[in-house]
């Protein structure tokens, strides 16, 4: 545990001292802010975050890979992976530490949007249920997106390639419910169930369904597991 902590702490320090992470954070806040106020021009605006959640899920597809792309690809590029993987640290501890660091930064970023919640409660009386559920959903969704980014970062030395491939995977997962509409029967069900968007939507409506929680936890676990195996496999080359 001490080693997971050491890896995580080092990466957190890098996040909070690198311009890249701040740029990512600022873009996230600016865009989600835009989505937050978008519907306020309506004659009967709704005091809710549903528009914000809509926007956040799409923005996350672009930003989560930007946060994770460095984590493993850069180690390989710089060659520091040689010292990291010859230290008495297990491969999963390396992955866990780096993943936790990205999760901490993401949570810090999402926490700043609490400002919108505060505004809503001050100037209106929103229904709190969907807000809390939505944040839980956003956290689970972000955790899964980061896990996808971890995997692609472990597969290449090129950070840009890592980010673009992760975005691709996330987009496919996001829009697979559209693809599901094109087919029928069992394939439609399977493809539809793969969609991260479908699983997120209920949270935004204030519904906390175990099925969806299990989905996001599984996606996260599967991608992190493959990341560890990929790291092991790349030792052979």
């Amino acid at each position: 545990m001490q080693r997971v902590q050491a890896v995580a702490w080092k990466e957190i320090q890098v996040y909070f001292s690198s311009p890249m992470a701040y740029i990512v954070g600022m873009i996230f806040l600016a865009l989600t802010g835009f989505f937050f106020v978008r519907d306020f021009g309506n004659p009967f605006p709704e005091a809710s975050l549903s528009s914000f959640y809509q926007g956040a899920t799409i923005i996350m597809i672009l930003l989560a890979p930007a946060l994770t792309m460095r984590l493993l690809a850069e180690e390989r590029k710089l060659g520091t992976v040689e010292l990291l993987l010859t230290a008495p640290v297990r491969d999963w501890e390396v992955v866990a530490g780096k993943y936790l660091a990205s999760l901490v930064f993401l949570m810090a970023m999402v926490a700043l949007t609490g400002y919108y919640v505060l505004l809503l409660f001050i100037f209106a009386s929103p229904d709190p249920g969907p807000i809390y559920a939505g944040y839980l959903g956003l956290f689970l969704y972000g955790a899964a997106a980061l896990a996808v980014g971890m995997l692609t970062s472990s597969l290449t030395n090129n950070q840009i390639v890592a980010a673009v491939v992760a975005m691709g995977i996330l987009l496919v997962l996001y829009f697979s419910d559209f693809a599901a509409a094109a087919v029928t029967g069992l394939p439609a069900t399977i493809i539809g169930e793969m969609s991260i968007k479908t699983h997120f939507d209920d949270f935004g409506l204030g519904v906390i369904d175990t099925k969806h929680i299990v989905y996001f936890v599984c996606v996260t676990a599967v991608f992190l597991f493959i990341t560890v195996r990929a790291l092991e496999a790349r030792r052979w080359r």
Partner: protein, 318 residues
């Protein structure tokens, strides 16, 4: 921990393929506790490959390595705890300061946090980094980065130090300093270092392995190597027959100076050394066949030791 009698590093039948061709093939050697072993070979010989396997960076395609009795693949963490490693390219996190980098590496290596601070002070003194504690590593010169690399390698006071070309790319004054440091470390620790400069290895090491195209072609003290290397022909003969008798028969051949009986995985491989300029292949085949043993193969070394030796003693290529 192993007892004092057994070797600190044991390498058996090590073979590694990157692609279809082996980078090293059937490499066998041992390093005793407290010994400084030099690993000498021209570019592409397989030095880095062997070191990466010893340090547990990558598992070998075949063969087995133990460090202090621990298998580097099966008991990876136990083995790695005992190894300090300076990779050839000295990879460092360029955005960190020297102290924060050493702190991170120390924690990863399991140095207890209450001892770490003192220990970092010690290695900074040893590697003369005192004026650069708070400097960002990316701003250090090559020679100072090398020192940071050495500092992280000795940080956890490892029983085994693996140094891949520790003096390459630094100025002559720092080369002397680095060599002195290695000599000091070698008094208590087991050191394996690689180089493609024979004089350097002779200066530092009690024993030298010469590796060429993935094979160990010679192993001796630096002094004896220098004497013996010149004027020797080397023939590899594969004979199926009783090893002791075969060796004895080969030794009796006129002109043969030394016969090495089979040591590695190949139970039939004898290495015959003969006086310079002699081609004894006809004579060897006659002797083997007349005894009724099976002559499986025979070849003169692709590059004679003399040529390798010449390559290693010239300093120009570095």
């Amino acid at each position: 921990m192993s007892n004092n009698g057994s070797p600190m590093i044991e390498v058996k039948g090590l073979t590694h393929f990157y692609g279809p061709r082996p980078a090293i093939e059937d490499v066998n050697f041992e390093v005793q506790r407290g010994e400084i072993l030099g690993f000498l070979g021209p570019n592409g010989a397989g030095k880095t490959t062997t070191m990466r396997i010893i340090t547990g960076f990558m598992p070998p395609t075949q063969g087995k390595v133990t460090v202090a009795g621990f298998d580097v693949v099966e008991q990876a963490l136990e083995a790695r705890r005992r190894v300090g490693y300076l990779p050839e390219t000295v990879p460092l996190y360029t955005e960190m300061t020297v102290t924060s980098y050493l702190k991170y590496m120390g924690t990863l290596r399991g140095v207890p946090s209450r001892k770490l601070k003192v220990r970092i002070g010690e290695v900074i003194d040893l590697c003369r980094l005192g004026d650069y504690r708070r400097t960002i590593i990316g701003k250090l010169s090559k020679g100072f980065r090398q020192r940071v690399g050495v500092a992280q390698a000795i940080l956890h006071d490892p029983e085994v130090l693996v140094l891949d070309e520790p003096t390459i790319g630094i100025d002559p004054i720092q080369v002397v300093e680095t060599r002195r440091l290695i000599q000091d470390l070698g008094k208590e620790q087991t050191v394996v270092l690689s180089s493609h400069i024979l004089p350097e290895v002779s200066m530092l090491c009690q024993r030298v392995l010469i590796i060429h195209q993935g094979h160990i072609v010679a192993e001796d003290t630096p002094q004896r190597l220098a004497q013996n290397l010149q004027g020797v022909e080397r023939i590899e003969v594969e004979v199926r027959g009783p090893a002791a008798e075969v060796a004895a028969a080969l030794r009796r051949i006129n002109g043969v100076t030394d016969v090495q009986p089979p040591t590695g995985r190949n139970r039939n491989l004898f290495i015959v050394q003969a006086r310079h300029g002699l081609d004894l292949r006809d004579e060897i085949s006659r002797v083997v066949i007349s005894q009724g043993w099976g002559l499986l193969s025979m070849r003169m070394s692709t590059m004679s030791l003399e040529e390798i030796f010449l390559k290693l003693t010239t300093r120009e290529e570095s």
